[in-house]
Every structure is written in structure tokens, then in C-alpha cells.
Amino acid sequence: MDAAATLPLLLGLAWLAPLVSFVAILFYGPRMGPHGRNAATVATAAIVTSLVLSLLAAGVWLGNHPVTAAVAHGGGDHGATGIPGADSPGGQGPGHGGEGHAVGEHASGGHGAPVPPSYSGDWYTLYEAGGLTLSIGWWIDALTVMMFVVVTLIATCIHVYASGYMHDELHDVTDHEVHLADGSHLHRPGRFPRFFQALSLFCFSMLGIVIAGNLAMVFIFWELVGICSWFLIGFYYERQSASNAANKAFIVNRVGDFGMLIGLMALWGALGTLHFGDRTVVDASGAPVARPGLFSLVRPASTGHALEVPAGMVEFAAADEVAAVVRTTAAQGGGADPGAVAATVASRVDDWRARGLGRWLLFIAGVGIFCGCVGKSAQFPLFVWLPDAMEGPTPVSALVHSATMVAAGVYLVGRFYPVLTPDVLYVIAWIGAITLFIAATIALVANDIKRVLAYSTVSQLGYMMLALGVGGWAAGLFHLVTHAFFKSLLFLCSGSVIHACHTNDMRKMGGLAKVMPWTAGTMLVGCLAIIGAGIPFVIGTSGYYSKDAILAQALAFANANPGRGWLFGAVAGGAFLTAFYMFRLWFMTFAGEPRDHHIAEHAHESPPVMVRPLVVLAVLAVVAGWTLPGGFGLANLIEQARPAGTGGMEQGGFLFSGLVVPPEHESHEGAVHVTATLTAFATAAAGVLLAAVMYLWGWVSPHVVAGALRPAYEFLAHRWYFDELYHAIFVAPVLAVSALVSGADRGIIDRIIDGLAWSARCLAGFDAWIDKWVVDGLVNATADVTWNAGLELKKFQTGRLRQYVTFIALGTVALFVLLSFLYRSTFAG
């Protein structure tokens, strides 16, 4: 099959199916069966359709671009299959809605790195003028296809689960968390269809980010994801905490988007395009013009896809030099010939680039885009929204925390990877390391089962960012996928527990394994996966593979940058903390004796509709990391999408001198791999052991530990006081400034205006007095106008309003007459 034509079609339809469901439920939701029960069926059918289409697309992809083991070792030795030539136009050629490009992996002999197969094009143009194109388009490579399958697969499980979990919303609900003024609880109609409506929109938005062919489109769906999260986190909007959390999520994300827009505008302003891929556009005369995309601009084929600062950015930074060229050209008689100037400038760009001009602009662009990812993927310092997002129904948490929203940030860093300079990567690694450590420490002491998982998500996202930052492109994205499986599993399990216990507080649980064996078992699988359990060098859960890859890459980075070895320490320490808090959670919830007998007696295993998705996800959490004989596996599939030129060693940063980003394939082999695997195993085992000592066997009482380390415990229990800190340094000052400005608005600006009006009135009164007593009837043109104004003002005071119509008409006519008089006397006379 012709992949260039079928892939956009299949994935496009897979993307739109949830939108159809959204619109259908929006208009017909309440009429879909009793209480809108069938809305779940509609939404689930839509997402299953997406899943099937995504799987078909994956089939087409694999048929055209088989994944082989050879790919796994990356670097320079692939390219057996593929289309020769870097830019073979795909299919329909240039034109609206149909333009497409297919770029095949080509034999890398001779120059530079291999180009991964990819397809790009535009479906629909929102706006196009003066070089700016806002369009809805696609960029499809192995990563896109894989993310489609992962997102739709997990979303399908969550849809099925939610149709059981949300059954309370099928009839009138009494919300015990909402207290009315008269002391009673809120009684409201169920909102079953609305939940699935928002869920569908969420999936649509997320898939939009995944398939996006340009940054503007990413931003569009970025915002839509934000607003979907607003709807879903604030689903119980009568609860103050829920609507607060929804607003917090959206506004904190907007803070990240601030940076993202700055980055976006830096790219647009300096490069004039936001498209990832190369395009062919038709200019005014109808001739096709090639427009390189961002990836080719930053990593052009001419350099063997090595990173270089694009000419537009160099020229921008070399503004003074360009001005000199303009002056010289003009002095040499070239006049304002832009062609001559452009030619001279172009000839000197390499020179300027060698001087390092424009590097910081590329840095700002990269860091700016990353800021958006910091918001969406809940990285330090913007992670505060994610734990609060627990206010949403549990299936939403599962979706937000695994396949959508938070995944978007990591995905975008991965997608945008070719444009990120080593300096940016190092910033990303830093942020990731800080995030993973802070979040893991907070998770140690949290008692709300969902909050533990929330902080664990933040921490795992930190892992992914760190991996991407230290050069582990495939490792970070691999962990994104495996984490999506086990984190959605863990959340759905916690939802099952909450469903049974009607509480989130782990201190009231315990011993639940007996009453809910399926939940306990699947959650144990999830815990094992998240800590990366496995038999070293033999086999393991999915987390075993992805976490090892991250550790190995961090170790390789530490080896390559002797002064920056602490990053590896953060990763290893984080692994220990993860193991501890995850098993603390499991032991507190399922093991031992019930702490609250009332709860334990009423607990029950969840219905099959909720348990089945758990089993599916548990299986996936185990097997997702496996590579089949012959080389097929997620790791190799991701490797197939590796952006051109990013597999090798990246050296040098201008901010962080001596920075080396090691090539990723080296970390898979030899001593690095062995050390990393053993470290991972040892830290995880130690963590589990410690958790067992404290929470299973009870040899050391947690209370004693907490008491002995009281200040540290308080610090962690208050989540490092981040909320308080942000309130003190951001929210409160902004509100104070606002109050000040608002006061000035009324007290100063408005007063000045009123003062002016008052003086005009005084002046008019004075003028009227003179008019009456001094001038006495002598009316000259200037005074007339002033007098009119004064009269008007006085009349307003007396409240005789109607005369103003007359005044305006009279005034206009008077001016008109005056004008003609002037004209006659000046020109005609």
C-alpha cells in the first residue's frame, strides 16, 4: 500500500473519530438512552474505531518500514530498506489540502546520518499570508504511529473502565463533599454524558498534538488539551476544591505556554516557518517554491544533519553586520537592491555563524518550547497543578497521568528534539533531575493513595525529561510508553480501591488483598513495573527495560561529563525512592490487617467491566518492553523514528562549557549497561526491602521514623511548601500590584480627568462672566466654541439633557459654515 496516501488518511480518521463522538454527545448526549447511558457506548465506539484505525496504520507502517533488530543499534548502520533520495515528494504533489512530503531513510553512505522515514503535509489552512501559514497538517513517522496506538489503546481501556466507574452519574447524585448553607448536601442530577463528551474531546486533542505537522497546530491542540483538563478536573465543579484545581491546572499551564509562545515566536520571527517538515508552496506566479521546515533548517542535509544555527537566526543576531552590508552595498552604487544585499549577507552567514552568532536565539527557542512542556508535563517549577488535578474522577486522572496531557510535554520534547541544542538539553536534564527528586520525596509521606500516584507521575516524568536531556532520546520516549501502561494501570487500580472503600486515605485501608484479589494482583504488577523489576540481563517488566535504558544513558552522560556526575546519582536515588513509596502504597493498602474494619467489611471487588481493563493493562505493563525474536519491539520501533542526526555525540555548549551529550547506542553495551542494570536492581530491591521493613513486617514503626525526623517529615508533608511559596512570591504580589493599579486607576487617572472637566467648567464660568460683563456681546469664533462648551457643561449640571442633540447638530453645522467661510476667504476670494 502506498503509505504516503494511506497513513494520513488512516491516522486522520483515527484522530477525528473522538471529535465525532464529542459533537454527537454534545448535541444528543442526554437523549442517548436513559440518563444518557449510551453516551459511554458512543464514546467507547469512537475510541475503539481510533484504535482499530491506528492499528491498521501501524500495519501499513510496518509493511512499508519493517522494524529490524539492526535498527536497535542505531548509529550508522541502517538503511537497508527505504526510498532513495532525501526528498521524494509523496503522492499528490503541491496544492491545497493535498500537499505531502515523504522522506525515506536513505543509504547513509557518504554524507551524514540516516533520515528516518516520515510523511508530512497539510489538510487545511486556517490562515496564510506573507509567509505565515497556520495550518492543520500531519507529520507521521514511527513515533507518531506508535503514540497513536498507545494513546488509543490506553484510552479504550479507560473508556471501558469509566463506563463502570461513573455509573453513579446515571442517576441523581448527592455530593457529600458539598455543604450547602442550610447544612444539607448538594443533590444534583447525574452528568454521565458530559463526562464522556469531555473524554472524547480530550482524546481528540491529544491525538491532534501527536499528529501535528507544525508548531502552530501543536499549540492549538496544546490549548485544547488544557481546556479539556479544565473540564475534567473540574468535573465536580460544585466542590470548591475541584474548580480551584481546574483553574490552577489551566493557569499554571498558561504560564508554561507563555514560554512556549515566546519560543514559537522566536522561531517564526527568525525562520519564518513553524512547519516541522519541508513543504512545497506555490508562489504568486504559480511556480512551486521549496520551503524548508524547522528540522531541515536546523539540521540541514548539507551538514550531514548536524546541528547548525539557521541562517535566519544568524542574520538576526548579526544585525549590526547586516546593517553594515546594507550601507556598503548602497555606497557601492548597489542602491536599494535587496538581491545584492541578500547575496552578500548569504555569503557571510557561515562566517558569522562560526563566531557563534544566533546560538542564544536557538537556545531561547528551545528553552521556550520546553517551558510549554514544563507546564504540560508537570515539571519543576510548574508541577504544582498535577497533584491537585486528583480532584477529577479517577479515570480522568488515569488518562491525564498516562497517555494524554502530561505525555504531551515529553512527546513534544521528543518530537522537537532535532532543534534542541546541547545547552537546552542540559537545562532539560537539570529540570528533570530536580523534578524527579522533589516529587519522589513528597510521595514518600503522602497518605492519599491518588496523591502518591500523582507525585510518582511527576517523578517519572522527571525521569523522562532527564533521559531526553542526557541524550537518551529513545530511552525517554520508551519510558513514556511503558509508563503510560503501568501508570494508567495503577490509577485504575487505585480507582477500584476508592470505589470499594469510598476513601482515598491509605491509613484507613489495609488487608484489602483478600477482598479484592484482582485489584491487588494487577496493582502489584503495576508496582513491579514502575520500579523496573526484572531478573537482571534475563527478562523483566516493561519498566525494567525503559528504566535501565535511562540509567544507562545517565551513566554514560556522567562518564562523558565527569563534573556532572550527580545526574546519575539523582536517577539512582530516585529509583530507590520510587521502589520505597510504591511498595509502601501497596503494603499499606493491600497487605496486613484492615485498619478500619468498617471499610474493610464493605469493600468488594469491582465489577468485571472495571476489572477487565486492569488485566489488559497489567499484561501490557509486563510485556510492553519486550523485544521479539527478529527485532520487533517498541524500543526498536522508536529507534526507527530517531530524528536525522541526533544519534551521535553532541558536543559543546556555549553556556555550559565542555558539555558532551553521549551517543545513545553506546549506553546499550558493555560496562555501562552492566553497571546501570545492577544499580537499578540494587536500588529497587533496597527500596522494596525498606518498605517491607516498615510497612509489611513492622520492624520499624513509620511513626517513630517520622517523629525522629520531624522537621524533614513536616517539610515533605507540606510538599516542600511550594504552594505557599508560589502564593507568596507570585500570586500575592500580582494581586497586590493589581490592587495598586486599580487604586491608581480610580484615584489618579480618573481624578485627573475629573479635574480637567472641573477646570473646564470653571474656565467656562469665568469666560461666561467675561462674556457678559467685558466683551458684552462681542462674539468671536474662538470664544464661541469655548462658550458653547461651557454652556454644555453647565446644562449637564442642571440635568437638562435633551438640548444636546441640538448642540451637536448646531455645532456641526456651525463648524461647517465656519469652514466654508474660511474657504471662501482663503482660497476663493
Partner: protein
């Protein structure tokens, strides 16, 4: 529809509301129902006529090419050297605003349906007169007619605020009237100076805007000491009127007061159309006729726009009155438009022109909804409201929708306009200014991006406090305010739950959700918000040529003055071709 010429069609559109106003006045003895029905019929018929005219305009390549459409010109004073004619017509600058004026009048009539019980005949008469003035100002092709209509919009609104407004209505009306009048008198002096200057060089005293534009381009007003800085003075004179009208910070203080005190229908027209007159004035007069002075002023107005964005947003953040909050959000949003206009980049000015319509829709929608809230709960205090979503779910849905439109959510109208404005502003900052200005421009553009964060903050904050949270019963003021009657009357057959106004009972007290006339008022705005959001090209395209034509001279003058050094390929293409590349 081909039975009569577009010109006749246009005249009909303007005369329609005047006839309707007379009819509404004449219906006074027959009671409120007849009055408002006649007003509704007039608004609908006018909207129909205007809508068809807009469609005819869109089909006319002359209009989409930047020219004028439906032009008619009646000799008025052609004695001797005079060539004064009354000219009407539409072009790309005015087309959408012309249509929006008719649409928002319908909204204004419908939102006043029950709110206005006192002297309805006078109210609807004034509303329709206002519509005629608004249509006239956008259709005017000569200075005199423009200025008469421009000023005449003040009169009906003055009475609308002064008679049907809230407690402090008189002060608000007087302040609004005098402030804007004081500014626009100066504008008139400026316009007259242009006319005289042109007459002194061409020998014909013409008031035709197109002729004047061509005339001052052939003989620009002097922009140097030898010529007495005449162009600069005229620019400042025009600025005085337009800046107050927009309003550009710090000339905005009349706006919150006028909005808060105005009846809902007045607020809808004020926010939706009248604020746009200032921007329209810049596009129609300042930029094309005084390009050099505009170019000199551009950095300052760009800066004032950015300041306005942040300033308006900050003030909105601490408002306790929902209507005042929406009013300050208007100040903030008008800042984007001013900034986009004076970025003098194609993307930004097109974005600004789209944003005129966008803000007209979203601000009108929000003001209408605030009015509906007031009719139900007799308060606009954010602290007194709460949990409204449980009582009036559809009202909440609509408010959230217009909130999203206002904070620039993709898929709705606000996004494209703001995004284009930002793209243009940044492009200007990166590649279009001299190095000395660059840091300033970048800072200002970044401040505009910061406005997006603040915008989401104050709007969502308001939504949360007013609509979400536990439902509670706001204090009912029993002081016999006119709006109290409105609710009493509202308990008619459309009223689903009469319990709402009964004694206190358990759970959320259900208030009436949107009624038919409220749906009818909001639905068209919402539909257009969605339509523009999904297909902005359809709205940008027809006006693009005219908007670029209006700003091209000023942009060229700006570039000449700035000597931007960069010759990035895409910039060259954009500036040289200046056309759309489809």
C-alpha cells in the same frame, strides 16, 4: 436580489432602523409588547437586509480586491468650488463592522426584552436610532457624514445610559458624553484641516474620503519644522478623539463607569461596536492619510497597546463587580488591537481587524450574560454570586463559551486574531525595527503574551466564583429596583420552575435558565464565534486587501524611518510581495 442595486440596498439598510424607530415610538400607546415586537421585527429585517448586502459584497471582487462596493453619492452642496456630496459605500475595512452593528442591535433588543419595563417606546426608538448611526458611520464615505454619524452615536447612548442605567447613571452618562465629545471635537478639527489642506492643493473642496486619501498622498501634509509639523499636529488631533473612543490607556476611565451603569442593551452596543469606532478611525483616516506621522507614533502606540493589555488585565484581576471586570477585560483586549494595528505588519493588522469583530462578539456576549445574571440575582458582585451553574446550566455554558472566546481558546474566534497579532508583533520586533528599538519591542511583545496568562487568570477566576462552587442564594435586594419587575414578569409561561422565587428550600434554588429571547440573543454570537474560530480565512480574506492597503503607506514609512537591518528571506518576500500566497 438583483432587482435593485447594491447602493439602494445600502441606503435601505440605513433607513430601515430609522423607520423602525418611528414605528416603535408610534407603538407607545399600544403597550410594551407591541413596542418590543416592532423593534424586534425592525432589528430582524435590518439584519436580513444587512446580511444580504454583506453577502453581495463578499461576492463582489471589487470589494475583496480592496475597493468600495455599493457606492452611492448624492450631490449636496455643489455650488461654485464646492464638491460636497453625501457618499455611502462599503469596503473591506467596514464590511464586517457594518454587519456586526446589525447583529448586535438584534442582540441588544433581545437582551432588553424583559429588562426594560420603563418607557419602552423611547428605549427601543433610541436603540434603533443608534443602529442607524452605527450603520451610517461604517457606510460613510465622506468626512461630514462620517463625523455626523460618529458623534450621533453618542446621543442615543447618552440617553440610554442616563435614563435606563443603574444608580450612578447620570454621572456615567455625562462623563461618557463629555469625555468622548471633547476628544472627537479635536478629531473634527483635524479632519477639517486635512480637507482644507487638500483643497488648497487640489483646488477642490472635497469631503470624499477616497479623494482626500488620494489627495494627501499626492501632497502629504508636511512632517517637518518648515511645514509647522502640520501632519503631526493633525495626527494628534485625530488621536485625541480615537484614543478616547478605543479607549487607549490612560484615556479609558470613562469606559468602566459607562459600562457598569449602562443597561445591558447599551453595554452590548457600546462594547461591541462603539469602541471599534476609534480603531476604525485609525484605519480609515490616520494610517492612510497621515502615514509618516503614524509611523513616528507607531512605537508609542504599540507600547500603549501593550501597556493597556497588562494594565487592563491587572485591574480586572481585582474587580469585585463582574460587569466592571468584563469592562476592564475590554480595555485589555482593545490593547491587543491597538498593538496589532501599530505593529504595522501584515499579519498583525489583519489580526487586529479580525479581532475587532472577535471582541465585538465576545464582549457583547459577556455583557449580555452579565445582564442576564443581574436580572436573575439582582447583583453583579462576584462575591455575592456563586454556584450559578447548578441553577442556570445553559447560562453557564454560554458564559464559559464566551470566556473561552475571550481568553483565546483555539477553535473559537479569539485565538486566530490574538495569535496573528502576536506573530506580527514579534515579527516586527525581530526583523522590522532598528537595533535600538529591538529590546523595547521584544519586551512589549512579551508583555502582550503575559497578558494571555493574566487573561486566563481573571476570567477563569470569575467563572469559578460566580458559577462554580456550592450553590447559594445571593442576597435579594428588595428595594424595588426596575430589574425586580423584570423577574416578576419573567414568571410567565416560559418559566420552567416557579419555585425559584418561592421561599427558601433545600438544595440549589433553581433559577430560570435561558429563555427563548436570551437564546436568540446569544446563539448567533456563539455561532459566529465558532465559525470564525474554525474558518478564520473566510473572514480575514475579504478584508485583507483593504486593511493592507490602509496600512501599507504607514508601514513603508515606518520601515524607511527604522531602517531595519535584517534581510531574512521570508521577510523580504513578505514585505515585497505583500500579497497572499495561496
Amino acid at each position: 436580489m438583483n432587482g435593485f442595486s447594491p447602493a439602494t440596498h445600502l441606503i435601505l439598510a440605513i433607513l430601515g432602523p430609522l423607520v423602525g424607530a418611528a414605528v416603535a415610538w408610534g407603538m407607545a400607546p399600544r403597550g410594551i409588547h407591541a413596542v418590543r415586537q416592532s423593534a424586534l421585527v425592525t432589528a430582524l429585517v435590518t439584519l436580513g437586509i444587512v446580511g444580504l448586502l454583506v453577502l453581495r459584497g463578499l461576492a463582489d471582487p471589487v470589494l475583496t480586491g480592496g475597493g468600495a462596493f455599493a457606492v452611492s453619492s448624492v450631490p449636496w452642496l455643489t455650488d461654485g468650488p464646492f464638491a460636497v456630496r453625501l457618499s455611502l459605500g462599503l469596503d473591506g475595512l467596514s464590511l464586517w463592522m457594518f454587519g456586526l452593528s446589525a447583529l448586535l442591535t438584534l442582540t441588544a433588543v433581545l437582551v432588553s426584552w424583559k429588562a426594560i419595563q420603563d418607557k419602552p417606546a423611547a428605549f427601543y426608538m433610541l436603540l434603533l436610532v443608534l443602529e442607524a448611526a452605527m450603520l451610517g458611520v461604517f457606510a460613510a464615505r465622506d468626512v461630514i457624514l462620517f463625523y455626523v454619524c460618529f458623534e450621533f452615536t453618542l446621543v442615543p447612548l447618552f440617553f440610554l445610559i442616563g435614563i435606563w442605567g443603574h444608580d450612578d447613571r447620570r454621572r456615567a452618562a455625562v462623563k461618557f458624553f463629555l469625555y468622548t465629545l471633547a476628544g472627537s471635537v479635536l478629531s473634527f478639527v483635524g479632519l477639517v484641516t486635512i480637507v482644507i489642506w487638500n483643497a488648497s492643493h487640489s483646488g477642490v473642496l472635497t469631503f470624499d474620503i477616497a479623494e482626500l486619501t488620494a489627495g494627501v498622498r499626492a501632497h502629504p501634509l508636511p512632517m517637518d519644522a518648515a511645514g509647522g509639523w502640520l501632519q503631526w499636529l493633525v495626527f494628534l488631533a485625530l488621536l485625541a478623539g480615537f484614543a478616547v473612543k478605543v479607549p487607549i490607556v490612560p484615556f479609558h476611565t470613562w469606559l468602566p463607569l459607562a459600562h457598569v451603569e449602562a443597561p445591558t442593551g447599551g453595554s452590548v452596543d457600546l462594547a461591541g461596536v462603539l469602541l471599534k469606532l476609534g480603531i476604525y478611525g485609525f484605519l480609515r483616516f490616520s494610517l492612510p492619510m497621515l502615514p509618516e506621522a503614524s509611523a513616528v507614533a507607531a512605537p508609542w502606540l504599540f507600547a500603549l497597546g501593550a501597556v493597556g493589555i497588562v494594565y487592563g488585565a491587572l485591574v480586572a484581576l481585582v474587580q469585585t463587580d463582574l460587569k466592571r471586570l468584563v469592562a476592564y477585560s475590554s480595555v485589555s483586549h482593545m490593547g491587543y488591537i491597538v498593538m496589532g494595528l501599530f505593529a504595522l505588519e501584515p499579519a498583525a493588522v489583519e489580526g487586529a481587524s479580525l479581532q475587532l469583530v472577535n471582541h465585538g462578539l465576545s464582549a457583547a456576549g459577556l455583557f449580555a450574560l452579565v445582564g442576564m445574571l443581574y436580572e436573575r440575582f439582582h447583583t453583579r458582585s462576584i462575591a455575592s454570586l456563586g454556584g450559578v451553574a447548578a441553577r442556570a446550566p445553559w447560562l453557564t455554558v454560554m458564559f464559559v463559551l464566551f470566556t473561552f472566546s475571550s481568553i483565546g481558546l483555539p477553535g473559537l474566534n479569539g485565538f486566530t486574531g490574538e495569535f496573528l497579532i502576536l506573530c506580527g508583533a514579534f515579527q516586527r520586533a525581530w526583523t522590522g525595527v532598528s537595533p535600538a528599538w529591538q529590546a523595547t519591542y521584544l519586551t512589549l511583545a512579551a508583555a502582550a503574551v503575559g497578558g494571555l496568562v493574566l487573561g486566563a487568570w481573571y476570567m477563569l477566576w470569575a467563572v469559578e466564583r460566580v458559577f462554580f462552587g456550592a450553590p447559594r442564594r445571593p442576597p435579594q435586594d428588595g428595594d424595588g429596583h426596575p430589574a425586580e419587575h423584570a423577574v416578576a414578569v419573567a414568571a410567565g409561561p416560559h418559566h420552567h420552575d416557579p419555585v425559584a422565587h418561592g421561599p427558601a428550600h433545600h438544595g440549589p434554588a433553581p433559577a430560570a435558565d435561558l429563555e427563548w429571547h436570551e437564546w436568540a440573543a446569544l446563539a448567533p454570537l456563539a455561532l459566529f464565534a465558532l465559525w470564525i474560530g474554525l474558518q478564520p480565512g473566510a473572514f480575514l480574506g475579504p478584508s485583507a486587501a483593504a486593511v493592507r492597503g490602509a496600512t501599507a503607506q504607514a508601514a513603508a514609512a515606518f520601515t524607511a524611518g527604522m531602517q531595519p537591518p535584517t534581510t531574512a528571506p521570508h521577510t523580504v518576500t513578505a514585505n515585497l510581495t505583500g500579497g497572499r500566497q495561496r
